[in-house]
Symmetry: C2
Subunit: 325 residues, 2 copies
Amino acid sequence: MKLAVMGAGAVGQSVAQLAGEYGHTIAGISDRGGAVWDPEGIDVNAALARKRKKGSVHSESNIDLLEADYDVLVEATPTTLGDAEPGFGHVTRALSRDRHVVLANKGPMAERYDEVMAAAAGSAGSVRFEATVGGAIPAIATAEGLGAEHISAARGVLNGTANFILTRMQTEGLAYEHVLAEAQDLGVAEADPSFDVNGTDAGLKGVILANVLDGGGHTIGDAHIDGIEDFPANALDVAGEDGMTIRLIVEVTADRVRVGPRLVPKNDTLAVTGTMNILQFDTEYAGQLNISGRGAGGPETASAVLADVDRLGCEPGSKGSSQAE
Amino acid sequence: MKLAVMGAGAVGQSVAQLAGEYGHTIAGISDRGGAVWDPEGIDVNAALARKRKKGSVHSESNIDLLEADYDVLVEATPTTLGDAEPGFGHVTRALSRDRHVVLANKGPMAERYDEVMAAAAGSAGSVRFEATVGGAIPAIATAEGLGAEHISAARGVLNGTANFILTRMQTEGLAYEHVLAEAQDLGVAEADPSFDVNGTDAGLKGVILANVLDGGGHTIGDAHIDGIEDFPANALDVAGEDGMTIRLIVEVTADRVRVGPRLVPKNDTLAVTGTMNILQFDTEYAGQLNISGRGAGGPETASAVLADVDRLGCEPGSKGSSQAE
């Protein structure tokens, strides 16, 4: 497949670097500074070297990447809330041209899910978004396999930065501000960690899961979100004395998304440590299913994007039933 | 889709009972005593009531189910080793008629994987076998999503009976024979528990995983298998004193399948308790991914069969690339 990658942050760069190993061609990549395009495949290393040196992948071969002749648009620009632009516009323009879209950008699937799905329904292209929930964890594919109508609830730890901070606060007995600074030094937290520590990032993932389970209808505005900003270390001490810990838990139940710090037994399946993520589905016939793994990182998230590229055109049920004709 | 179910044990019965909720029709079901067929959909409850009363689903409408006009053959007859018959013959006959096949029977995929795949390659039908490894755990779909070539190893606890026995022996300090009898009373172990406790069942699952990861070439004869028969309780005591436990671990590495009791830290991800199963993949780009859930049970395994039915015709990569034309 011929991929056009919009966004050259950690995920976009990793997609560009790994696509060849998955049998795909990077025909173009863009960032805020411009784009580079070659239908035979761009020189990825040269483009990323330009970005390191000059701040953009842009070369003389500048182009409106959205209008180019790709098979799949990989939307990996930064997540935005509200109108989810410019990501939303990228997605709908590609679909209107009957191209496939694979998103790593959470904005369109959390804030404008119904509109994206309506655009996909009117397009020969498909939309997939595994990378928007839980990085390397196959959250969406597993939900599709179980069947949304057979899942009664989902919950999990879906922000590695917040989990790292809570884990370190408890094991080392350190204060929030201290551990946050440490996480920033290690690159686990960004310079502006707001979305990670105020629960927004976990909330977006919960909203996307809710949209998958309910067939749409949710936005971040409907979610009830508490974060871990300035979480008191002594609350963790008190919890620890009773064999408990505290985790920033996303809960998706019938029609409701909640995010907040919750007491969890230390030996509970949900009590993953460090930057690990875990997602738990309660199902009608298959009991409880848990998936844990790396919830962030360039190559990890890129592997989810590239798994989605392989799944394009294979929405569960659709092809199986058409083959029966 | 119109399903023909061969085998009316716990899994076959659950598939028949749940198929309607997944949007499919049970057009036939068979057991050793005969078959019942109705292209418009059989009366499942009546067939299962006949089986309970008279020992077979068989009614006047007897038929050679394999030759009937179904879309998907669900092969849920008991697992056999060696030539994997009669399951293997059922699978290849259905494929030769360009029908899809979904297996719960481990025999053909462990003992004759290469032949099954060759038959599928020459058929308009596809073969899927999610239910053969880890019950409700989406082992095969997850491996396909990650891409077999990007998985370096797999390991896990894939036999709930053996895990229940080891868990109870350690927590209650009881002897093997005592806990086995208890497991049989609870229905966790069968009257003849040989395959569960001698490692064969876990070995078959490891061999199937190895076939998926390596594209075939493995049979149970090549696996190195130790079980937990008459496992000494004091070995668990000694392990427990050092914060360890013992689990029957399946390991699939490059070209090798091993099953045996292994020391595992008590708080390790692999140390699931009771009848739970867990599967761990080491990947090239996505780190380590863990999936845990119910590894056996009629409805749980049936849900894996029915998820496979929805995936038919959507082998990873195949449809995505053809859509690009």
